[in-house]
């Protein structure tokens, strides 16, 4: 035995040594990477004058777009010795804006970055973008050979990045468009042939569009399943594109002059609502939904899908089952189209503006655009490149490339006011009429106007708040922090009885110090900051010194004047009301089942717990399919059941979303009761067997034993689970973010999702911080309420054994 134990200690010592070296190696390696770059820069310091940082995303362009940008940057470096370019690509547009925001807020913005036309107004409003006209003029004066010839660009793409402080399309240029797209419908040629409908021409009308949709919608396949005429996405931009073809709009000259209530606009919206809500299978809707967005078309069961731009082409090129092509937006009272475009822009706070300008010119050069055009993802903004073979590639679908190009000269960008909430409010309210259908167009319009007016009239929207007093606040906080440090040092160095205790106390403080430091930096400091920010108005993309002090303004606005906040609170409470009791009852039931002593019970326990360990986003995507109105597993199972009583399953995230949207998430949550089940199971197994036997001897039946003995013994565990699940129910985010994005019409905009929207879409950090604190107070209040209400019902005596 002694030999064995010595060997064991040798092994564990060996293992410890390996781990130690691994840890050391990791630290050296990670510092090494940074060190190496620093060292290289230092070594090349003689040659490098500047380092430029470029931030972009690839999205649908994928690694190919990455490669094109990368190649172009290296070519630029080769052509411009002394300039190094560092490329950052966080992935898709969502991550891109988050990364951009982080860099901007940190005061370390990238020199060049992508900006979508829809963000120009708000970015300009925040002073993030460098005006480019001086550079263009300088180039023109110097007759530089690389000068950008804006005359060669599609005028509307250039106009999209002009802003005069209130309106788009006028004034200063803030970005040079790198590519763009017009919009229209993709159509399934096979279904058109089958329905005997002629293929759309480039000048087709809405009457022809809806006739084709109706013809396809009345067809059935061999299995008797209906086809659907068209997917018509109701994104605000596309709705406004549709309105423009009817000579209508939601705004007049600018956004202070809203025309959404005008008869023409209302009539056009009513017609769209009617197509979707009053007809069966003409448009995808609650009654005949396959999938949403661009994916619907891929199923081959939808005649047309749109209005989409060029960006779906890479995805649709993978379709092998049917033939398809593209037709631009149909005409109504007039021919109209819109563009979506992205530009290269320069940060107003770039420290290397001349070099950045050089690079910008390089990135929007014809060569670069030609390379990008071959991806098929978008149209080049330089007219000559667009008309070249680089774009008009006849070997690949769609064959109607001209359908994109021809409307381009007259197409106009869809403009937005600098307050990004306008678009969200419009989307949410229009969805109630167009998508959910529980409101008429007039009702939805009134809802939108009320919310937008509240937003505009909010005291927070008015300028004139004093700058946030960072200096005194920093002083006070520093003094407080210093006081805490002094107190801790005194505690650590205080003389105690005996040397041993003094030394023990010192070691204690020393060993706890990494945690204390971590707590101070990563917990205490952020908490204090969020509390301070909740009193401020601060755009998350600006530096902190731009914050203004609004006092309790955020809280007053939230509690008194924000209908969306109240909606999200109601949705969340509704969810809590279903998810918490239902989830706990199910978890307890499952735990009782899993507590049976039968063969293979371990397998069942693992199987029940498994969903709790699966990753959130993937699961959410799966559940989106499960809750699909027509093809989803849930409704396939419910339909025959409810059919017995003459009912039909709900359209979860469609027209029944007001009633069934939040419950759908609760039902989804029931899938992961495994976590709670485990805790209950542990509690059940801690109930002494003897007590249950005593209860049997005391002549109690199985139910009485459960309710009179097991349940009281389990009550502390129930209370714990209850509180945890109440807190958890207020933190629903991933599922809603992935599955519905809060829609339709804010009916699944849970509290935290709303908070996220405020913080990371509208960059209202102060407002979002105030929301976070209100959330804390709500959960705190509910927890206290639960604790108080449980008095006398929870028996801790069973634990003291």
């Amino acid at each position: 035995m002694p030999d064995g134990s010595r060997e064991g200690s040798f092994l564990s010592r060996f293992l410890r040594l390996v781990l130690l070296w691994a840890a050391i190696g990791l630290v050296i390696w990670s510092f090494g990477r940074v060190g190496l770059r620093t060292w290289r820069n230092w070594r090349d310091r003689a040659e490098i004058d500047k380092e430029l940082v470029v931030l972009h995303w690839s999205g649908e362009g994928g690694p190919e777009e990455n490669a094109i940008v990368e190649k172009s940057l290296r070519a630029f470096e080769a052509a411009h010795p002394g300039i190094r370019v560092r490329r950052l690509n966080p992935g898709d547009a969502g991550s891109f804006y988050t990364k951009l925001q982080t860099m901007l807020a940190a005061g370390d913005p990238p020199d060049l970055f992508y900006v979508g036309a829809e963000r120009v107004a708000s970015f300009v409003d925040m002073g993030l973008l460098e005006p480019l006209d001086p550079y263009l003029q300088a180039d023109a004066k110097a007759a530089a050979p690389e000068a950008i010839d804006l005359a060669g660009f599609f005028p509307s793409t250039v106009a999209a990045f002009k802003h005069d402080g209130t309106r788009m399309g006028h004034g200063t240029l803030y970005g040079v468009p790198k590519d763009f797209t017009t919009v229209g419908f993709y159509y399934n040629k096979d279904l058109f042939r089958k329905a005997g409908v002629p293929f759309p021409k480039d000048d087709w009308t809405w009457d022809q569009y809806i006739a084709a949709a109706r013809a396809i919608g009345t067809m059935k396949d061999a299995a008797g399943e209906s086809y659907v005429g068209s997917e018509f996405v109701t994104w605000p931009m596309m709705v406004r594109a549709y309105l423009r073809t009817e000579g209508a709009e939601v705004r007049g000259r600018d956004f202070d002059d809203l025309t959404i209530e005008s008869p023409a606009t209302q009539a056009a919206l009513d017609r769209l609502r009617g197509w979707r809500q009053d007809e069966t299978n003409t448009l995808t809707s609650g009654r005949s939904k396959l999938a949403s967005g661009a994916a619907a078309f891929v199923t081959g069961r939808v005649g047309m899908a749109g209005p989409f731009g060029r960006w779906v082409v890479p995805e649709y090129r993978r379709i092998r089952d049917f033939d398809w092509d593209y037709a631009p937006l149909p005409r109504g009272a007039r021919q109209a189209n819109v563009i979506a475009t992205v530009a290269w822009a320069m940060s107003a706070r770039s420290e290397n503006k001349p070099e950045a300008w050089q690079l910008l010119r390089w990135l929007v050069s014809p060569d670069m655009q030609a390379a990008n055009a071959r991806l098929g993802l978008a149209l080049p903004t330089i007219r000559s490149v667009a008309e070249s073979d680089a774009f008009l590639d006849a070997s690949q679908k769609p064959s109607n490339n001209r359908g994109f190009l021809d409307p381009a000269p007259t197409a106009e960008v869809v403009d937005w006011p600098s307050d990004p909430r306008f678009e969200q409010l419009l989307a949410g309210n229009l969805d109630r009429a167009l998508l959910v259908g529980d409101q008429s167009v007039a009702e939805a319009t009134r809802g939108f106007l009320a919310e937008w007016t509240a937003e505009k009239d909010s005291p927070l929207a008015k300028p004139g708040f004093p700058a946030f007093p960072w200096r005194p606040v920093t002083w006070v906080l520093s003094l407080l922090a210093a006081a805490v440090v002094v107190w801790m040092v005194r505690m650590a160095s205080a003389r105690r009885e005996g040397r041993a205790e003094t030394s023990e106390a010192r070691w204690g403080w020393l060993l706890a110090s990494p945690w204390l430091l971590g707590f101070a930096l990563f917990m205490a400091f952020p908490i204090v900051m969020s509390l301070l920010l909740s009193l401020a108005k601060w755009k998350g993309v600006s530096t902190l010194d731009t914050a203004t002090l609004v006092g309790g303004g955020n809280y007053l606005q939230l509690l008194g004047h924000d209908p969306r906040f109240m909606t999200s609170l109601k949705v969340t409470l509704y969810y809590t009301l279903i998810a918490v009791p239902g989830g706990q009852a199910l978890a307890l039931l499952a735990a009782v089942l899993m507590n049976q002593k039968i063969g293979g019970i371990h397998f069942f326990r693992a199987a029940w717990y498994l969903p709790s360990v699966l990753a959130g986003v993937g699961v959410a995507v799966l559940w989106r399919w499960i809750f699909d109105t027509d093809g989803g597993l849930m409704n396939m199972a419910l339909r025959p059941l409810l059919g017995l009583f003459g009912g039909s399953p709900p359209d979860w995230f469609g027209k029944d979303a007001a009633t069934w949207g939040a419950p759908a998430f609760a039902i989804m949550g029931f899938w992961t009761v495994g976590g709670g089940m485990m805790i209950y199971l542990a509690g059940l197994q801690a109930v002494p067997e003897e007590l249950l036997e005593a209860a049997r001897i005391d002549r109690l039946g199985a139910f009485a034993r459960f309710f009179r003995v097991t349940l009281p013994m389990l009550s502390p565990v129930i209370l714990f689970n209850l509180i945890m699940s109440i807190i958890g129910s207020f933190q629903v985010f991933t599922q809603a973010f992935v599955m519905t994005g809060g829609g339709p019409g804010d009916l699944t905009r849970f509290y935290v999702l709303n908070l996220y929207n405020q913080a990371f879409e509208f960059y209202e950090m102060g407002y979002a911080s105030a929301m976070a604190w209100i959330l804390l107070l709500i959960t705190l209040g509910l927890t206290m309420l639960t604790l108080r209400g449980s008095r006398g019902l929870v028996h801790y005596e069973g634990l003291k054994r």
Binding site: L691, E693, A694, A695, I697, E797, K800
Partner: protein, 380 residues
Amino acid sequence: MATIDLNGVGKTYPGGVQAVRGADLRIGHGEFVVLVGPSGCGKSTLLRMIAGLETITAGTLAIDGSVVNDVPPQDRDIAMVFQNYALYPHMDVRTNMAFGLLRRRKFASRLRALLSPAYASGRTHERAEIDRRVLQAARVLGIEHLLQRKPAALSGGQRQRVAVGRAMVREPKVFLFDEPLSNLDAKLRVEMRAELRMLHRRLGATMIYVTHDQEEAMSLGDRVVVLKDGLIQQAATPRQVYDRPANRFVAEFVGTPTMNMVEGTLEARGTGMVFRGQGIVIEGRVDAWRSLIEPRPRPVVLGIRPEHVQIGGGTGLQATVEAVEHYGDRMDVQLRCGDRSVTARCLPQPLQEGGMVNLTVDLARTHLFEPGNAGLRLGE
């Protein structure tokens, strides 16, 4: 009060382990029967089968003449006191005791009762009766002042009393005790033993008591049932078990210090007989053993209780004192006699460790068993 009949009762666990084998036992009205044996002998299993907490896999169990093999415990009208008392921690003492009396009705009848005008008064009456019984039991057990407390606030002995009280208020046909005193300290155990004994006399109920402590078994039981390896070895009064152990196991299990067992032979000598074995020779005359004498020396095991080994006298059995344990009123002496050591229990006397003494053993007070570890009793 009830009779209990065990007829070939057996328990075989799914793994094939036989916990109890063919137990035959008849327990009369008001009898106090103690099941005793070393751990793993099946005594608790047997008790739990009587309670209905374990299924019976062989034979029949009858209470008051009716077979209850398939009757669940709640319908057997028995009460049980558990080793860890099994008090409901979330209820106070009063509720713990009354719990077995509450809520006897099924839901439907309760609903009917709710609608009847007599319900309220009936309920009050029922309540009063329960209170009366609880109070009475508490008075008997001396725990009246504890009724409002919860079990966590009680000492071990108090919990024990509550557990007994809970059984008492039920006024069941049969009381079952599963090692109820094993968690108490030695002094309290002796006190409680006496109280249980008195309680039995007072209630006159049928009681079955399980213990691994032979002393407890002897002191409590009207009848002691000794078990080993799932088999009943002997079921008799404590006196009989002590004086006439049915086999070598019972003889060795009962009594402290353990009976001295000497392997050897028995043969005739003159009008009497002589035992020889392991260097020990004892002569004597036991009439009951006459029939055992065979022409050739018969192999036997001789059992001598330590208190029947007398130090002094002159039979010529010589021994060396190896160790002495004083208990004040008596002493246990470890002796080397012949080829083996022998324990003697005697009155205090001056003895030198290492000194030589003479021993006297009266053959008439010894026990004779067949050879082997499970040898049956010989003679009578």
